[in-house]
């Protein structure tokens, strides 16, 4: 009897406790979120799907954190938290309520591992969840992700969103997303035909991809439509490809111009074969690194300004080093080109190894300020911001230099000294002083080029070596002693290179350019824009 009573009592207790914990267990979302913590990589896909199916907007921050690798599980109890890093510990936030929990050392938490497949799942789940968001940007992103990963089940949701959408850009993207999704759905052929038409009109590589993959699985009746659409897009692409090549050529040209423009002064105007020119570029890049390093540790808010701060500093640093080189070595070697070549080559090795000893042989990280990261589309062209700014910068430097040489008294003296040293000297110009300043100017400009090049190349002691040959090539091709020649030379070599590259490959393309330059120099030894007059003959 006693035993029966005891059993009853225990059952009762269990029932009561079950009832008390009941509402919590019923909170599916909480359970679904904590299930993320225990899932293996392969299972995460399903769990994300389950979360997305709930349609609850509270899921959005959880999925975002998961995709970005900020979702952690506590080792002791398996609790799942959104986290932000703070020194050696993590700040924990409850995933559903968004309330702060406090801090915990990193060792107590385990990051929920994600891979590309999981990130894709997160992206498409988020797309479905934010399709009706109040924020236009979020809706656009959702529409883009729907367009990227077509899923037949989402068709009705897209159509509903399309009906409610007011913003023109989002509408257009949604329209394309609908077309893409229609193609993989089981709607009637007429709808699909309309979708193919929409895609053909939108053009672009994404549409090309969708249509090509649809071609293999489409009905025989649809195939001619798809083929016609493909042909239409491809024709438009041919035009845009040519435009893209010109753009890439301009961009490569601007890099060549930047690298060569300092040399156009030291070699072109002064006639010094300066093998240490590349190292000036490298020192400019390292100045940028130092500036960014100081900003990172002390003034993080200034990061977007780091390049503007680095530019004058790089000019000064390399200008002073250039001045020192001229005063200590080169001035003793005027008129002896072979010795100058050897001496400056020695200097370049010394500078390289010095940087290697001070900063170490490995690459240094130079970041892109936010206004230089990313890209935008113009029609079928993808234009990256950093390349655009480098073109602008190269042209600005060129214009400033031209102004300095042609419109200021300093420039007048420089030209006078280089054209007829003895005559200039008789006129009272201090020629050694002008020589030193001219060399410093050329070096300083190389340093500024280094600031720009640090944005696209790696900052290592070898940085300069990669540009020295190209720089000489541009200056010789454009015509020694002529700044305009350097400009035209740089851009024409850049464009030529980029038109050859798709057909000949990068290696052969470069060789072909060199061969063409050799042939050209045979025909016109003084380059594109040869200086004329008695000064040249002397």
């Amino acid at each position: 009897m006693y035993r029966i009573l005891q059993t009853l009592l225990i059952t009762l207790c269990l029932l009561v406790s079950a009832h008390v914990t009941g509402p919590r267990a019923a909170d599916d979302l909480g359970a679904l979120v904590s299930a993320l913590g225990t899932a293996k990589l392969a299972e995460l896909d399903d769990r994300i799907g389950a979360l997305a199916k709930s349609g609850d907007p509270r899921v959005i921050p959880v999925l975002e954190a998961l995709g970005e690798g900020n979702l952690y599980a506590r080792k002791t109890d398996g609790g799942v938290f959104l986290t932000t890093e703070k020194g050696a510990s993590l700040v924990l936030v409850d995933p559903l309520t968004g309330s702060a929990i406090g801090e915990a050392p990193k060792g107590e938490l385990q990051k929920i591992k994600v891979n590309n497949a999981v990130r894709r799942a997160v992206r498409s789940a988020l797309g479905g969840l934010t399709l009706f968001s109040a924020d236009t940007g979020a809706r656009l992103k959702a529409a883009q992700s729907m367009r990227q990963t077509p899923n037949a089940d989402a068709l009705e949701a897209i159509e509903a969103a399309l009906a409610a959408e007011k913003d023109a850009t989002v509408r257009k993207t949604l329209d394309e997303a609908r077309a893409v999704t229609l193609l993989v759905s089981d709607r009637p052929d007429d709808d699909k035909r309309a979708a193919i038409k929409t895609l053909a009109e939108s053009g672009g590589r994404e549409a090309l991809g969708v249509l090509t993959s649809a071609l293999s699985s489409a009905d025989a009746s649809l195939k001619p439509d798809i083929e016609a659409a493909l042909q239409r897009i491809e024709q438009a692409q041919v035009f845009w490809n040519a435009g893209q090549n010109v753009w890439y050529g301009l961009s490569l040209g601007s890099v060549l111009l930047l690298a060569a423009i300092g040399l156009a002064i030291t070699f072109g105007v002064m006639g010094i074969i300066n093998m240490a020119h590349g190292e000036m570029v490298m020192l400019g890049a390292y100045t940028t690194f130092l500036v960014q390093d100081v900003i990172r540790t002390s003034y993080p808010a200034l990061f977007d300004w780091s390049l503007a701060i680095a530019l004058p500093l790089a000019f000064l640093v390399t200008g002073v080093i250039g001045l020192a080189i001229e005063r200590s070595v080169i001035r003793f070697l005027y008129g002896r080109p072979l010795e100058t070549l050897l001496a400056t080559w020695g200097i370049s090795l010394i500078l390289q190894q010095a940087v290697r000893s001070i900063f170490g042989p490995t690459n240094r990280e130079v970041g892109n300020p936010s206004w230089m990261a990313g890209a935008f589309d113009v029609g079928g062209l993808t234009i990256t911001w950093n390349r655009l700014w480098i073109i602008v910068f190269a042209l600005a430097v060129f214009a400033a230099l031209l102004f300095l040489l042609k419109r200021t008294s300093m420039g007048l003296r420089m030209r006078a000294v280089t054209q007829n040293r003895r005559m200039a000297s008789s006129m009272g110009i201090r020629t050694p002083f002008v020589d030193a300043l001219t060399f410093a100017l050329g070096s300083g400009i190389a340093g500024m080029a280094g600031v720009a090049l640090s944005q696209i190349d790696n900052v290592s002691p070898n940085l300069g070596q990669g540009y020295i040959i190209d720089s000489f090539m541009v200056v010789v091709f454009g015509g020694v002693g002529n700044l305009w020649g350097t400009l035209v030379g740089a851009f024409s070599l850049g464009i030529l290179n980029k038109f050859l590259e798709p057909y000949a490959g990068a290696v052969l393309g470069k060789i072909l350019v060199l061969v063409l330059i050799i042939l050209f120099i045979q025909k016109k030894p003084r380059g594109l824009f040869a200086l004329k007059g008695r000064a040249v003959e002397a």
Partner: protein, 430 residues
């Protein structure tokens, strides 16, 4: 023989052997180890770290009492990224400094340049870098990965987990990428990939303008099939390549890039936030969570007095190679080349990823293969690894002229290119 006579005999023997020893080794109480890594020139970026790692390993061993009761002494030379100079410096290490073993080289061309020297002077080289295979030499131990320990499993991973159907094989134009891509192309075709779904692209060393190639990759990837890039791009060219990928918005979720020459050291010069999810295949990552690795990283950071220094795969290869050599010398009881060469085969030492690596008769070692995804902090996170250890395969099974070849340096075969079809030693590479 009475005890007295025996003691005298032993005494005499000791004196004699000591004199003999002195005569042969010029009164040195140390065992010399050569380090042949470029400390200047283009390859300094990668090789200087390995020199430091070797110095640390030797230092640690000396703290534990050295080897055979003697201290180890490092002899460092700088071949300055100049391939013929590698051969000269190797000769100097072996014949002038009389080192017992050399740890060094990075590029395949530097290794090829020193091979005849080690053969002629009969010394030992430990080569720590992943390479193209198609070689097995009596005096060389290859502690880096052969293609089947890196490239082939990486492609398998992409095929199975990411269902990739179209492949871009992009590499720098020299022997390692060309041979690896040849093997990969043959492998992919054997797996049923159509030749038009493979795009092969080579670029010069230090290539910095990636606009056209990245846009070609995007174009190639828009054919409606899942596309991946297999990158054998080397050294300096990687940073501008990844910067261009990030700027043109090539996301790992859409077109993943798996690299064989990009490790923690290369990522140190990059903002990796836009690159999260791109992959690398190695046999070791700094993020591997084992006690041995934690200890190694701690020692490394302490030795370099720099908390930001990273560890990488070739460092682990030197760690394994160096420990194998120690064990083999202890086993042989001497640093004599022939004895050590025999003792090396079958030696098994712990690696840093929680298992044991064994030296196989083909002078390659067993290793696990790890696939990692780049994280925003510049580290890799292992997303897949081979269930067991993979034996380095020196002669690829996927190339027609090397599939019949095997290497086995144990007596009686003692051959680096034994042709199983003809049953003779000799063939390619002889």
């Amino acid at each position: 023989m009475n005890i007295k006579a025996r003691v005298t005999g032993a005494f005499l023997a000791t004196v004699l052997s000591t004199t003999a020893f002195n005569g042969a080794f010029a009164a040195d109480d140390t065992i010399k180890v050569g380090i042949l890594h470029s400390l200047s020139g283009t390859m300094a970026i990668s090789e200087t770290t390995l020199k430091d790692a070797m110095l640390m390993l030797i230092d640690e061993q000396n703290k534990k009492g050295g080897l055979l009761g003697k201290k180890l002494e490092a002899v460092v030379v700088d071949p300055a990224s100049d391939w013929p100079l590698f051969a000269e410096k190797a000769r100097e290490l072996v014949s002038v400094d009389k080192v017992s073993a050399v740890f060094g080289c990075w590029t395949s061309v530097s290794r090829k340049s020193v091979l005849p020297v080690f053969e002629e002077l009969n010394s030992i080289l430990f080569y720590p870098v992943q390479y193209e295979g198609e070689e097995s030499q009596r005096n060389v131990f290859y502690t880096g990965a052969a293609p089947n320990q890196q490239a082939v499993p990486a492609v398998d991973y992409l095929m199975e987990n990411e269902s990739v159907e179209r492949w871009v094989l992009a590499g720098t134009d020299y022997v390692y990428p060309r041979t690896t891509n040849k093997i990969l192309e043959a492998y992919l075709i054997s797996k049923g990939v159509k030749p038009e779904d493979i795009m092969i692209n080579y670029t010069p060393f230090g290539h910095s303008d990636w606009q056209t190639i990245v846009s070609d990759i995007k174009k190639f990837g828009s054919a409606g099939k899942k596309t991946a890039v297999v990158s054998t791009i080397n050294g300096d060219a990687n940073v501008p390549f990844y910067k261009e990928l990030a700027n043109q918005g090539v996301k790992a979720e859409d077109i993943p890039v798996v690299a064989f020459s990009v490790g923690e050291e290369e990522l140190a010069g990059l903002d990796t936030a836009p690159l999260v999810g791109h992959l690398a295949a190695w046999n070791y990552f700094q993020s591997v969570d084992t006690p041995a690795n934690a200890e190694f990283i701690k020692t490394w950071k302490g030795y370099t007095k720099n908390d930001k220094r990273v560890t990488n795969d070739p460092m682990e290869a030197h760690y394994i190679g160096f420990n194998m050599w120690l064990k083999a010398v202890e086993k042989a009881g001497t640093t004599d080349t022939d004895a050590v060469l025999d003792a090396m085969i079958g030696v098994s030492v712990p690696n840093l990823s929680g298992g044991y690596s064994t030296m196989m008769p083909n002078h390659h070692i067993t290793k696990p293969v790890l696939i990692g995804e780049i994280q925003s902090d510049g580290q890799f996170e292992t997303v897949w690894e081979t269930p067991g250890l993979v034996v380095g395969d020196e002669w690829s099974d996927y190339l027609p002229d090397s599939k019949d070849l095997i290497a086995d340096w144990r007596a009686p075969m003692s051959c680096g290119n034994f042709n199983v079809a003809t049953g003779k030693c000799g063939g390619k590479g002889s």
